[in-house]
């Protein structure tokens, strides 16, 4: 598969002095998190994570604090060393790279955005954004040009010689984004980038980022603790609990078909209106006639409900070729809405 951009296979992270011993024991005996803690005094950070991210998509990793999502994402550029497992990024194997290959990968292929911006207060915005180029030895004029371009893409071109503490939180995170994009990397790692912002600004930045990524063709790994945000941003979502990936799927799959009680608890409050599509909830026609109320296969639940406002007869779902594919009764529409 050539279009897989990030892939982690059987990734484990165990913290502690006796991590290697603990790792062997876990593989041999399948110890639980508590057993690892009691027997080896080690902490299980990531348990057997396997996932792949396609080129150009936004892949959300969602979990509560302490679920290991930040730990997991730091394995992709090896800010954290895996205890065991393979990491592939842009057809390079990351877990066996040496120090200088790794630095090159970080500087050229992967950009990262941090929860608390992590802008360096003693550097101007230009020097913040151009840092990746600076450590690679790019000449100052080129650096400034690249910084300016990246800042302008975030509507902050005029601030290049100012300092981070002269900006508001939302602006600072746009600088964080500009810094991640300055070297034009193929991959973006975003560690709860919008969590520290107030709701309105967060919404704006989400939109701005979606807009940006739509015509940028970058692969994004997006960490969040907010399922609403994951659903808004993600093409695929991985839900983590206690260091393990519980479920991976599209937002619709996660919401309509939660794998266990933990995921079900999360999706309970999520609105299905803009998420569930006709194809998912339709029944077979079973010889009944098509009605005049017709929707497409990918029609969202909201549109289907519109049709029941007038009368309560079933809605027919049409294939792209114009034949009837199935029907939806008011009962199944309301069931889907309730979740």
């Amino acid at each position: 598969m050539s279009d897989v951009q990030i892939e982690c296979r059987d990734l484990w992270k165990i913290y502690g002095r006796r991590a290697d011993e603990a790792m062997k024991a876990v593989l041999a005996e399948g110890l639980s998190k508590e057993e690892v803690r009691d027997r080896y005094d080690c902490v299980l950070g990531v348990r057997d994570a396997t996932f792949s991210v396609n080129k150009g998509e936004i892949f959300c990793i969602m979990g509560l604090s302490g679920s290991g999502k930040s730990t997991l994402v730091r394995h992709v550029n090896r800010l954290i060393e895996p205890t065991s497992g393979e990491i592939h990024v842009a057809s390079q194997r990351v877990d066996t790279m040496n120090e200088s290959q790794l630095r090159q990968l970080r500087a050229e292929t992967i950009g990262m955005v941090f929860q608390h911006m992590a802008l360096w207060p003693h550097r101007t915005l230009g020097d913040n954004v151009g840092f990746g180029l600076e450590v690679r030895g790019v000449a100052p004029e080129q650096r400034r040009e690249a910084s300016l371009k990246a800042l302008e893409a975030m509507d902050l071109g005029g601030w290049i010689d100012h300092y981070p503490d002269q900006l508001s939180g939302g602006m600072q995170q746009r600088v964080g984004l500009a810094r991640a994009l300055a070297a034009d990397p193929e991959i973006l790692l975003m560690d709860e980038p919008f969590s520290a912002l107030d709701p309105l600004i967060r919404r704006q930045l989400q939109d701005q980022f979606l807009d940006l990524s739509a015509h940028m063709d970058k692969t994004t790994l997006f960490i969040t603790h907010d399922l609403d945000e994951a659903i808004r941003m993600g093409d695929h979502i991985a839900i983590m609990n206690d260091g393990e990936i519980v479920q991976i799927g599209t937002p619709e799959e996660i919401v309509t078909n939660p794998k266990d009680d933990y995921v079900a608890e999360f999706v309970k409050g999520i609105s299905r209106v803009g998420l569930v599509r006709a194809e998912t909830i339709m029944d077979r026609l079973d010889g009944r006639d098509a009605t005049t109320k017709q929707v497409q296969l990918d029609a969202e639940l909201g549109e289907i409900i519109e049709h029941f406002m007038e009368d309560q007869t079933p809605v027919t779902v049409m294939s792209p070729d114009g034949s009837a594919a199935g029907q939806i009764t008011i009962k199944s529409a309301l069931t889907a809405l309730r979740g």
Binding site: R106, E108, F114, A118, H122, F131, V135
Partner: protein, 305 residues
């Protein structure tokens, strides 16, 4: 011997051991200590010659300009007043000697203390070993090591610098260690995430962010060096300390007071100036140092002209 008072006898002759150890070191390794003296000697002699032989008013102007640059016009005026007072009291020559000893000490404390602090911040085991050593250097009364220092390094100003160096080194090591450890973890992580090597992370992120704390350490070192001035005059170090010591010896209250006041005025100037160096650019309203003070004024004039 009575069992109830066993401590009447000296069972462990530590004093004698130390005595013979010292004799042995002096007899066999004195050349090493004489070699250690050389760099201290070069820096001290250079500074002392410069400060005492140049015209007094030139040095006065230089000190005032540096203070103005570091801490603004107010500090410039304070320095002018303090240094003029020292000069008018007739303690100028001595204060220049003391200043050169303190500055030499600061140079070596920074050169050795800042790297030690950085290593300590990166290596917990090293820090564990270093900590009791620093405690020892700070708590052991300096009178105790005056004698071995004299035996190993002989008397004079250079030995004075070395005594002061031992006493004044700990704060800069401690505060450098603290400053580097206190840099926000995500700032360092961000540097690594953008491909910086350990060295680049240290120079471009950790040291600049730790600089206010490190400068507080340097300031503490300076103040401790000044507080050693009188003590070190016992091993015939010249300068303001010797004025005080001579005054005490001859019950000459006037001389001791002049020396004491000289130390106080000098301390004010050095303390304020070195503290001002520690204020980060952020707190100065993001102005580069050369955009303010006398240098800024000259640059402004040159631009207009």
């Amino acid at each position: 011997m009575e069992l109830w008072n066993i401590f009447d006898t000296e069972w462990v002759p530590v004093g004698a051991w130390v005595e013979s150890l010292l004799q042995w070191v002096v007899a066999n390794f004195r050349f090493i200590f004489q070699a250690i003296k050389v760099p201290f000697d070069i820096v001290l002699t250079g500074l002392e010659d410069g400060l005492t032989q140049a015209p007094d008013l030139l040095i006065l102007a230089l000190i005032v300009l540096v203070a103005w640059q570091a801490g603004g016009r107010r500090l410039g005026l304070i320095s002018l007043a303090c240094m003029t007072a020292i000069g008018l009291m007739g303690a100028w020559e001595e204060s220049m000697t003391t200043l050169s000893i303190v500055l030499t000490c600061v140079v070596f404390c920074s050169l050795i203390g800042i790297p030690l602090g950085v290593i300590a911040a990166k290596n917990d085991r090293f820090w564990m070993i270093l900590q009791p050593l620093l405690d020892l250097m700070q708590t052991i009364p300096s009178f105790v090591y005056l004698v071995p220092i004299v035996m190993l390094f002989s008397i004079g100003n250079v030995s004075g610098v070395i005594v002061t160096f031992i006493y004044a080194l700990p704060p800069v090591v401690r505060l450098t260690n603290l400053g580097i450890r206190q840099v926000r973890a995500d700032m360092v992580e961000a540097a690594r995430a953008f491909g910086a090597s350990n060295r680049q992370t240290l120079y471009k992120v950790e040291l600049p962010l730790a600089m206010p704390t490190i400068m507080a350490g340097v300031n503490q070192t300076i103040m401790m060096a000044l507080s050693m001035v009188v003590v070190s005059s016992m091993i015939s170090v010249t300068g303001l300390g010797q004025m005080v010591l001579r005054g005490i010896g001859r019950l000459d209250m006037g001389l001791a007071t002049v020396g004491g006041l000289g130390i106080v005025f000098l301390a004010i100037v050095i303390d304020r100036t070195s503290q001002s160096f520690g204020i980060s650019a952020r707190d100065r309203g993001h102005k580069k140092w050369y955009e303010t003070g006398p240098v800024g004024a000259v640059r402004g004039l040159m631009k207009k002209g």
